[in-house]
Amino acid sequence: MEKVLDIQNLHAAFSIQKKDYEVLHDISFSINRNETVCVVGESGCGKSVTTLCIMQLLPKNGKIQSGSIYVDGTDLTKLSKKEVRKFRGKKMGMIFQEPMTALNPLLTIGFQLRENIINHRGASKKEANAIAIEYLKKVGIANPEQRLKQYPFQLSGGLRQRVLIAMVLSAQPDLLIADEPTTALDVTIQKQVLSLLNDLKKDMNAGILFITHDLGVVAEIADRVVVLYAGRKVEEGTTHQIFKNPLHPYTIGLMNAVPNVDLDEFEIRPIPGTFPNITEKIDGCRFNPRCPHASSCPKCFETAPEMIEAEPGHFVACHLKK
């Protein structure tokens, strides 16, 4: 299968007061065409930084230390700023969490959609208008002709998110990055947007990188799942493997912490302790202060566990699974 995105041994760091703190440590994963990969983790685990690395949009104090990011076979880390611009938007599109801040409130929906299409597909204004209407129809917006003349404030949150999806798709990217696109929406609207993405997946012929912290959303949309904890990949597998047979104590803890609507009895079982700060130094496995099994395993405090393949396609980084 063709790989749309291939990240290899990515290390990234932020410098705070002239000191470098590692936020991503040896991250590798790939996305095939027509596949949805979910990256899950708590806030601060590095999932948004991963997307910023791919888009080459890291803030000034952040930098990629080593590793490579291949999009469509080209290593983005080796390109100049000018060359990256040709990739951004055209080959890889991004949907953000807050649709209001992603749209310009002073311009009509139509202007913003057309601008994108003219830039990336070299269409004339008339053609761009037709394409914009076509894509608005695709994302399930009724009377697209009228919507084109409207401003963002005239649309509801769910509609704005649909417009953004249409905007990103109209450039026909190979990779779609969605950073918590449904977190700010109500459950009923979230369901609509998720099912829309699921329907579009078939005919847009691209790979989707979906960032979320909601495990319910993962079950809804993902083909494969990558679990991050404190800048490290702790587990990777197909959605089936992760949900039926979670291996890493952190993944198990996350699953137990979600109050499940389907269960009649549920005991609140939080993961003890707090998420480590990036300035905090933890030897061995980063999860050891919160892990229920660490006390019986001295190795967890000494060396960081390596990724092992527990079953075909299912990777986990834990000393206990050797």
Binding site: D186, Q190, Q192, F243, V261, D264, P270, T274
Partner: protein
């Protein structure tokens, strides 16, 4: 559940936000509910359904448009609100006004009869002769009938208002005598309240002295104990610094003098308690005298007043709790100690330039007159209670994680031992693992302090496992209200069903049954749909839904629903 004590009762609570002269944003419509003591009451709905507004109106952070919200956590004696005397003075006016309104309506009814007689004459003579005049009279009749109806409504409204203070006594002929008795009772309440204020002052003084004595007695031993250790960890070092500071504080404290003081206060406290008891007895005596008039000398103010069923209904209106909307600002302030709120965004509710310690202490500084050292001790106790460390007293909000900040928010809310807390999406901004920790803390606190929660959220998983009863709201209206297990087992309202189907599940696609997606979006509350507010998106929509608002009925025991699919059973 019904045998438990009611803490808050709302009746037809409404909140409209005016947008311009003609339009209102109807945020909350006719909410009638009872919240029991020690209960965790959950409210779910999409954004804009009015759940936050309802929480705030109950705390009187927004003034309500109409309806009442009565609080039973504190007795009238404890607060001694001013509005009661005002209402008592007004009793006679209520009665006379009601009777005036009714007399006027009767007069208009007579006029209507005359007009009808005129119309009949025209009818007999053949309607085709003077159709114009016939129409004119018909219009007049309709107008007068409407006027009379309004007047009758006004009459019963006056009686209802009066009945809030005295029940069905409002119908009695000797209303002046009754008002007199109630005034006398009210004076006793005032005296008892004055004693209570004094009592609290003395009790606080005793508590303060005890804290100081205890600190002085134990501080040296604790310091020695810590110093005896060879190595101190970080936490113990903080403790030591803390203890040394305390020692300095209590240096000049004279234990003998303080104990002497406490001994002197003890009989005063006893005396005050007896006085309060005496005042209460006298007060109850006056009230009993007043209620002896019940059912006697009932005035025929309106046609219904002689009906015992109507009298019973008026008796039901008699309020033993405190009507929050009638309180003055300063009275509301003092009652707000009992009713606290925890907000969604913990970072926004803390001042970044204020240390955690002073943020918590502020609560005591404003609401009590504790001296600084007692406040500090109290704040530190609270920090340990919510799972933080004593040394967090000195840190600033930026040094804390989201979960820790929310713990500070909780510490502030429980500082004054409230009985009722509104949690407005208190765990929505937190990560799942931290969210579970906070829920556990809230659970422990509610058991320990017998707190009542009004838990506002959009997360159905959380309400299901955290709350005892759940209310589902849509566009300012109640859709369904039931015990949480019951609601999830038998979802009656189509909206509840769609909402539950929309929740992202932890089950895989392959194990899941296909569900229908709720189409469309929530209509604007400025211009809500006619009839059932949900009919525009409902898949079971019938003709009646478009025109008539469904009644709120008990479809199953303790399971209320507002939907035309469930009709009131004829008994």
């Amino acid at each position: 559940m019904n045998t438990e004590k009611v803490l808050i009762k709302t009746r037809k609570l409404k909140k409209y936000f005016p947008i311009n002269k003609t339009t209102n944003l109807k945020a909350v419509e006719d909410i009638t509910l009872q919240i029991y003591e020690g209960e965790k009451f959950g409210v779910v709905g999409e954004s804009g359904c009015g759940k936050s507004t309802l929480g705030r109106v109950m705390l009187q952070l927004y003034p309500q448009t109409s309806g009442s919200c009565v609080y039973f956590g504190k007795s009238i004696q404890e607060l001694n609100p001013k509005y009661i005397q005002k209402e008592i003075n007004h009793l006679k006016t209520y009665q006379t006004k009601a009777s005036e309104f009714y007399q006027d309506s009767v007069k208009i009814d007579q006029e209507v009869e005359q007009l009808e007689a005129q119309r009949r004459v025209l009818d007999v003579n053949g309607s085709s002769v003077d159709a114009k005049k016939y129409d004119k009279i018909s219009k007049k009749i309709a107008l007068k009938e409407f006027k009379s109806k309004e007047l009758k409504k006004n009459a019963s409204r006056q009686l209802r208002e009066g009945s809030r203070t005295v029940g069905s006594l409002i119908l009695c002929e000797n209303i002046e005598e009754i008002a007199d008795l109630f005034t006398k009772a009210e004076e006793e309440v005032k005296k008892a309240h004055e004693c209570l204020v004094k009592l609290n002052e003395h009790q606080n003084k005793v508590y303060e002295n005890e804290v100081l004595i205890n600190q002085k007695q134990t501080v040296d031993a604790s310091i020695q104990e810590l110093e005896a250790k060879n190595e101190l960890n970080e936490e113990e070092e903080y403790q030591l610094a803390d203890l040394i500071a305390t020692k300095k504080n209590v240096q000049n404290v004279d234990i003998v003098k303080l104990e002497e003081e406490n001994k002197q206060i003890a009989p005063i406290i006893e005396d005050l308690k007896n006085q309060i008891k005496k005042h209460h007895e006298i007060e109850m005596g006056y009230r009993d005298q007043a209620f002896a008039f019940k059912g006697k000398n009932v005035l025929p103010i309106t046609e219904r007043t002689l009906d015992p069923a109507y009298q019973a209904k008026l008796d039901e209106n008699y309020e033993t709790g405190i009507n929050l909307s009638k309180l003055t600002k300063s009275e509301m302030r003092s009652i707000r100690k009992d009713m606290q709120m925890i907000f969604q965004d913990p970072a926004a509710s803390l001042d970044p330039r204020q240390s955690i310690g002073s943020a918590i202490e502020e609560v005591f500084a404003i609401n009590t007159d504790m001296p600084k050292r007692v406040r500090k001790e109290k704040a530190m106790q609270l920090l340990t209670r919510v799972g933080l460390k004593r040394e967090h007293y000195y840190s600033y909000p930026h040094a804390l994680s989201g979960g820790q900040k929310q713990r500070v928010g909780i510490a502030r809310a429980i500082a004054l031992d409230p009985s009722f807390i509104v949690l407005d999406e208190a765990v929505s901004a937190l990560d799942v693992s931290v969210q579970a920790q906070i829920l556990q803390l809230l659970n422990d606190l509610s058991e320990e302090k017998n707190l009542t929660y009004f838990f506002i959220t959009h997360d159905l998983g959380v309400v299901k496992h955290f709350c005892d009863r759940i209310m589902v709201m849509y566009l300012g209206n109640v859709c369904e209200l039931a015990d949480s297990k019951e609601l999830f087992k038998h979802r009656l309202h189509p909206y509840t069903e769609s909402l539950l189907d929309s929740v992202p599940r932890l089950t895989l696609q392959e194990d899941r049954k296909k569900v229908e997606i709720l189409e469309g979006e929530v209509p604007s509350a400025m211009n809500p749909p006619q009839g059932c507010p949900f009919h525009t998106r409902c898949k079971k929509c019938m003709e009646i839904c478009k025109s008539e608002k469904p009644e709120y009925v008990e479809a199953m025991p303790n399971h209320f629903v507002a939907c035309h699919l469930y009709k009131k059973e004829e008994k």
